[in-house]
Symmetry: C2
Subunit: 315 residues, 2 copies
């Protein structure tokens, strides 16, 4: 076992991600002390009931003396929470986050900067469709990517802070990558944000069909629809904030998606089987690339990585 990376970390926001960080930090000894705080009293009480760790009654107590503060709140709340948090932090400590959008997140965190703390935005590519403190589990970040998007700050101290934060996430089982925030947002728009939007949308469309009863949709959902409903069960506040804060990249992907879909629609209408066959064959090949790249081992399977044996499509 390696040594703790930090003496004390503070986790602000005890939802799925915050709770998982708390459990993973304890399980893998990544910090000596873990303090949690959530602005919602009910969430604090639920977190205490399931023994998530030391639950502070206020932000100042949680943050006091922490070497690293991790904001696990929706992207839309980041700016206000960061502004409240930074003045409570000790000098030289690190402030990071776990938001799914990084450009706006970086701006929100940077706005709170006072020159005393290191601000290093981050995003774990891990999650499930569950939310709340009860949804957290210690293996969530194992074999997952963790992306850091450091600010343009010179100096050895900042570089050291980045390196320490890398070690922390590595100790939780993640593989850390560093990239700039704009690139992160472009990549995630297509690999995560658009898929979620599509899933939310198809579920709503099904809901509204007058020609098919909702009960039938539920009953026969095994034909493919159910996979979408799982993704669409994700936290509405978190996802609202993602779309509001990664607007340009999402709209760009969405425009292309709709164009491509219109072409398939036209092929169906005119009975153009060749176009359909070619497009479907092309889609199949990217799946093969994912399996070949080992990106579908059970361990990193979004939403199911806690379940043993799943995700091995070759089984």
């Amino acid at each position: 076992m390696t040594n703790p990376v930090f003496e004390k970390i503070a986790i602000i926001g005890a939802g799925l991600i915050g709770a998982s960080i708390a459990r993973a930090t304890r399980a893998y000894g990544a910090a000596e002390t873990v303090s949690l705080y959530d602005a919602d009293l009910d969430v604090r009480q639920r977190a205490a009931a399931i023994d998530l760790g030391k639950i502070a009654d206020d932000l100042a107590t949680a943050v006091a003396d922490a070497d690293c503060v991790i904001l696990c709140v929706p992207v839309g709340a980041l700016k206000a929470v960061a502004a409240e948090t930074v003045p409570l932090m000790k000098a030289g400590a690190t402030l990071t986050d776990v938001g799914s959008v990084k450009g706006q997140a970086a701006d929100a965190l940077a706005a709170a900067a006072d020159g005393r703390v290191h601000i290093i935005p981050g995003h774990p590519i891990a999650g499930t469709e569950q939310s709340g403190p009860e949804a957290g589990f210690e293996t969530l970040f194992r074999n997952a990517w963790h992306i850091l998007t450091p600010l343009k700050v010179d100096g050895e101290e900042y570089a050291e802070a980045v390196s320490r934060l890398e070690s922390f996430w590595t100790q939780l089982g993640a593989t850390v990558e560093t990239m700039d925030a704009a690139r992160h947002d472009r990549v995630l728009a297509i690999t995560s944000h658009l898929p979620h939007l599509i899933a939310f949308n198809i579920v709503a469309t099904a809901f509204d069909m007058e020609t098919v009863e909702q009960g039938e949709v539920v009953k026969y959902s095994a034909g493919g629809f159910r996979d979408f409903t799982r993704i669409a069960a994700s936290d509405p506040v978190m996802w609202r904030d993602v779309f509001l804060n990664n607007k340009d990249a999402v709209l760009e992907c969405l425009g292309r998606f709709s164009e491509d879909l219109a072409a398939l629609q036209r092929a169906i209408r005119w009975g153009d089987g060749e176009t359909l066959f070619n497009e479907f064959t092309r889609a199949r090949s990217i799946r093969k690339a994912i399996i070949d790249a080992g990106q579908d081992s059970g361990a990193v399977n979004f939403g199911r990585n806690q379940r043993k044996g799943d995700g091995d499509e070759k089984a």
Copy 2:
């Protein structure tokens, strides 16, 4: 153990579904003899190599004396295969299929009718994204729905044939439902066909983004995209035929989907967080309905029902 429902069945087409029927029939004793045939010599040899059962060298041998013939071929091939098969069948035997579209399938089968055999279209709501004889497994139909869309044929003999076919699928572990073909096609258009089209499309869109490398799409696919690629790995020929043969119902769903998506796109563009939040919350509730209805037990989880312990989202 119950008795065999049929003395001999013939399975025409040894892909995922045909191979699974062969294995399930043997495992659960649903017929005394199982004969398989595939028009593709390579598939026949692969089926023989993995001990799928008695592989016939020609259609006539497979079908001879069979009490039930199950066509497991793409919907587009049904008409030709049915026309070739019916004259080889013994009088009073049953001809069924497993096509994902039932209106056109029923027409294709009915066109081959010669008054000697009972034609009963069917569709198991089960599958994985795999194809070929090696992909078959005996538990595929357990806890899955099997839909029969009987023709409008009067008489006790036909009713008895339907009842016997029901018993057969029940013995393989399925729950049988009977409905008319048009209703089947409307329900499946939204629960299966549209989700597959969307999955194929989003994968193609991702493939074509110049601003994001394909390697990055693969690497960070855990954020939601990977679930779509799994669905999009499904057999291109089968799905081409589905869309060509359920055109009207699919185009109707697709039109509504695009309308709904345009509304979300507008909400993103104008920063209308309330609309996004409300739609996402609504989508989440249908997921809850599916879990409450017990439609997400691991056993019927599309594409993953062979894997133990998966699908329990409450775990």
